[in-house]
């Protein structure tokens, strides 16, 4: 980045690194990188720095006492809502809601995201806590009428953390839990076929696919491109 011409590419390089570059600028940057070793080195330095930051700085964990205290706040809230005036208001609002609320078909994506968020509440994420797929897979035996494929992708940065039994889309399903750096990925699995989907709801990304007679839903606050990468590992 020594040549004056490179200065204008400095922020573009960074935006590209952060996945924030538009198509036109990306093309301009690619053309420049092809001819500029200094900017290629700069791009590599950015990549190394990001990798080191994520690898060498462990995320602080929420102190359990604080989590418990703030979880209780939620229950305190519901008690306060039971004062008589509120209750009457609620009953009235509820009766209105009966007429006003449009009936929508159940949306699997919204349900999958809601399931993921519910699972993130303290103590809900995992019934079997193991990074060993030979422990997780047999755990499902006798609890489900199918045997979910359990894979560990620790080698490529998606370590298996455990699993749980879930009730989803009107049937019991297997839920596997994976990590990607700070992010938790839920994978819901049941036998069947469905058209592949991908999208975002409430800030959570989801991808669904069918493979070997099973439907898969992966949900996470991980960015969409890494979640797609995770989904590809299964197929």
């Amino acid at each position: 980045m020594t040549a004056p011409a490179c200065t204008e590419f400095s922020l573009l390089l960074q935006a590209d690194h952060d996945g924030e570059l538009g198509a036109a600028d990306a093309a301009r940057l690619a053309a420049h990188l092809a001819t500029c070793p200094a900017c290629r080195a700069e791009a590599e330095s950015l990549r190394i720095l990001s990798h080191r930051l994520r690898a060498e700085i462990p995320p602080a964990t929420l102190p359990p006492g604080l989590a418990a205290k703030l979880g209780r706040r939620n229950r305190g809230f519901s008690v306060r809502s039971q004062t008589p005036g509120f209750a009457a208001g609620l009953a009235f609002a509820a009766s209105l809601a009966l007429f006003v609320m449009p009936r929508r078909p159940p949306d699997l994506a919204a349900a999958a995201v809601a399931d993921h968020i519910r699972a993130l509440q303290p103590g809900h994420l995992m019934d079997v806590l193991s990074t060993d797929r030979h422990t997780v897979k047999p755990w499902f035996a006798g609890k489900l009428d199918f045997s979910p494929p359990v894979q560990d992708f620790a080698g490529v940065g998606f370590p298996l953390k455990g699993g749980r039994l879930d009730y989803f889309a009107g049937r019991p399903v297997a839920a596997l839990v994976y990590n990607r750096n700070l992010h938790v990925i839920d994978v819901l699995i049941w036998p069947g076929t469905a058209a592949p989907r991908a999208g975002t709801t409430n800030g959570y990304n989801y991808v669904s696919w069918t493979h070997a007679g099973m439907v898969f839903w992966a949900i996470s606050d991980l960015n969409a491109s890494e979640l797609r990468e995770f989904a590809k590992l299964w197929q």
Binding site: I48, S50, E56, L70, N223
Partner: protein
């Protein structure tokens, strides 16, 4: 159903992001006990403001509240002029900040020694993996400022990382 919706919203909007809230508070304040106080303060504010949430990224929404609570806390305990200082950490004198940066034994210390406004952008992008738009909303600055602060933070770290061991 306003009240019970708020309760559901608290469970949906706030509880899943408490760990991220605590991490940001800790990076901004660098003291676990103070970070806990600020997260509690932020959770109370979130509960009050929950009706005003207009959709979008709820983690960014909560982090903005955490950030404001942290700044209010710093404002109460430190003179305002120090907070506006773009170049040095408000908690350290210029000399000790420089020494600290030079002597950072590892990357964690090097990040902790960054000026607060640079540290905030770097942590939100690199460790929380938020978009420029979300970081701009959290810090209350334009996207262009996010980009320049991020670039400055990375240049400082890259200048040091060659000597820092994992």
């Amino acid at each position: 159903m306003i009240v019970s919706r708020s309760k559901d919203d608290y469970a949906r909007l706030v509880l899943p992001h408490l760990a991220a809230a605590y991490r940001l508070a800790l990076w901004l304040l660098r003291d676990p006990a103070t970070a806990e106080d600020v997260v509690q303060d932020a959770a109370e504010r979130a509960l009050r403001f929950i009706g005003g949430f207009r959709g979008g990224n709820e983690r960014a929404w909560l982090l903005r509240i955490v950030r404001n609570a942290a700044m209010d806390h710093l404002g109460r305990t430190r003179p305002a002029a120090e907070l506006d200082d773009e170049t040095e950490d408000p908690g350290l004198s210029p000399e000790s900040a420089l020494l600290c940066a030079e002597r950072a034994a590892n990357l964690h210390e090097a990040v902790a020694a960054l000026p607060p406004k640079l540290r905030e952008c770097l942590v939100l992008r690199e460790l929380e993996e938020l978009s420029y738009r979300d970081i701009a909303d959290i810090a209350g600055i334009p996207i262009g400022t996010v980009m320049s602060r991020l670039a400055a933070a990375r240049q400082k770290l890259m200048a040091q990382t060659r000597d820092l061991r994992p």
